[in-house]
Every structure is written in structure tokens, then in C-alpha cells.
């Protein structure tokens, strides 16, 4: 992607992030105890989880396309999305840990959703390490595509873990009646706005990372 096309996207992502953070800190009221002020972590924790899902879904699509027709661009897309997905999975885990400490009394609990998310991070870290090891380009891409496709199986397990197993993590009913932790309507609206903001940020990082892959291919061709 050309820099001229990337600049508006990067500016939009930056402006949206600033507006989002302003709303989180200066517009949103505190939640009911014990969540108080620290509940605001939800506005980065949930969107980063959504981006992790989205990023690894893109890895799945790119990997399948690469295996079907050997498209290099689809391979770049899968590789780029895996890298951004690992970043957002790490953000999701770290923000969750910081939020857990004041509420659960511990940064980490080996409960199903947390453990499976950690496994997801390890799978895609392995994917990136495998790709970084080099070797025959075509073979590496095909094996990486298989890892990218099979790794996606973890996502539904993570998503439904809160329904299938009893753990510390709140259920999916944050925005539905009867949940463990209820948000006011304006908080839900802000949460969805932050999901949109993070999606723009993901698109920006993905475009930057794909441009990097294109430049690397250009250099390889020159050599």
C-alpha cells in the first residue's frame, strides 16, 4: 500500500483513539462497586479480544486462499494479520491481568478462558517463530498456513468457555440482562465505539505490515 493512502488511515486511527480515550476518562461515569473506576479497562480489553478474533479469522482466510491457489499476497495477508493478532492477544491478556488483580486478588488464575487465550497466544507465537526461521519459502508458507488454519480452532473454545465451564471470568452477558457485570447503555455504546476504533487501528497496522512484506519481496527480487 502506498504511503499516500496509508496516511489518512493512520490519521483516522489516531484521531479515533484520542476521541475514544477522552470519552473513556472524561465522559463515562464510574461503575458500581467493586468495579468503580478500574472497570474502564473493559474499553480496551474487550476490543483487543475482538481484534484478536478478527485477526486470526483473517489468518484463516488468507491461509486457505494461499493453500488453494498459492497466492503470495494472501500469504502476506495471513502473516501480517498473525503478527497484529499476537500483539492484540497480548494486550488482551495483559489488560485482563491488570484488571483481575484488584477484583480477584491475583494477576493470573488458571481458569478455562484465560488458559485457552494463553494457548492461542502460544500457537500464533509459534507460527511467527516458525516463519522467522526461514528455509524454503514456499514450504514454510504452506506449513505456516496449516498452523494458521488449525490454530483458529481455539477461538470458538475461548468464546464459549465461559458458557461451558465454570471459571472466574465474567460470562458473555456483560451487555445482556442477567450477567455478572452489567454496563449502563452509554457504557455499552462507548464499548461498541471502541470496538470500531480498534478495528480502524487494526486495519492501519495490517496495511503497514503488508507494505513491509511488499518491500521485502521487492528487495528479494532485486537480489
Amino acid at each position: 500500500m502506498k504511503s499516500a493512502r496509508l496516511t489518512p488511515l493512520a490519521l483516522l486511527a489516531s484521531a479515533a483513539m484520542l476521541a475514544g480515550v477522552f470519552a473513556i476518562f472524561f465522559v463515562m461515569p464510574d461503575a458500581e462497586p467493586p468495579h468503580g473506576i478500574v472497570y474502564r479497562i473493559i474499553f480496551i480489553h474487550v476490543p483487543s479480544a475482538w481484534i484478536a478474533y478478527l485477526a486470526f479469522a483473517v489468518v484463516l482466510v488468507g491461509s486457505i486462499a494461499h493453500l488453494r491457489n498459492g497466492s503470495k499476497k494472501m500469504d502476506w495477508l495471513a502473516h501480517a494479520s498473525a503478527e497484529v493478532g499476537v500483539l492484540f492477544t497480548a494486550i488482551c491478556l495483559v489488560t485482563g491481568m491488570v484488571w483481575a488483580k484488584p477484583l480477584w486478588g491475583a494477576f493470573w488464575v488458571w481458569e478455562p478462558r484465560l488458559t485457552l487465550t494463553f494457548v492461542l497466544l502460544l500457537i500464533y507465537l509459534g507460527y511467527l517463530v516458525f516463519r522467522a526461521m526461514g528455509g524454503d519459502q514456499e514450504r514454510t508458507s504452506r506449513i505456516a498456513a496449516v498452523i494458521g488454519i488449525t490454530g483458529f480452532a481455539t477461538i470458538p473454545l475461548i468464546h464459549f468457555a465461559v458458557d461451558w465451564y465454570r471459571g472466574h471470568h465474567p460470562g458473555r452477558a456483560v451487555i445482556r440482562p442477567g450477567g455478572d457485570f452489567q454496563l449502563e447503555p452509554e457504557m455499552v455504546a462507548t464499548l461498541f465505539a471502541m470496538v470500531a476504533v480498534f478495528t480502524v487501528l487494526y486495519a492501519t497496522l495490517l496495511a503497514l505490515r503488508i507494505r513491509l512484506a511488499g518491500t521485502a519481496a521487492q528487495l528479494e527480487a532485486l537480489r
Binding site: I41, L87, V94, W99, R211, Q218, R223
Partner: protein, 52 residues
């Protein structure tokens, strides 16, 4: 630690993570572009193909 401190740590870590990732992409991009310029400069017609 207070809840405000936990909130500050969470947001701080997110900004640091994003900034480091952006910095790493920019650094890798600059390095590749510098190598391309170097290879292109060595070629009389602007292409380094086959010189190495």
C-alpha cells in the same frame, strides 16, 4: 495499589505496546528501503538484478 494506579498501568502498557510495534515496523521498513536504494545505486540502469 489503588484502582487508579491499576487503570494507569493498563492504559500505559497498551500505549507502550502499540508504540513499540509501530516503531519496529518503521525501523524494518526503513532498513529494507535503505537496502533497496543501495542495490539500485549499484546498478547503472537503476536495477540491481544479477549484480551479486
Amino acid at each position: 495499589m489503588t484502582h487508579v494506579q491499576y487503570l494507569g498501568i493498563a492504559f500505559g502498557l497498551v500505549w507502550i505496546g502499540l508504540a513499540l510495534y509501530l516503531f519496529s515496523i518503521a525501523r524494518r521498513q526503513a532498513k529494507l528501503e535503505a537496502e533497496i536504494s543501495k542495490l539500485s545505486a549499484r546498478s547503472p540502469n537503476g536495477s540491481a538484478g544479477g549484480l551479486d
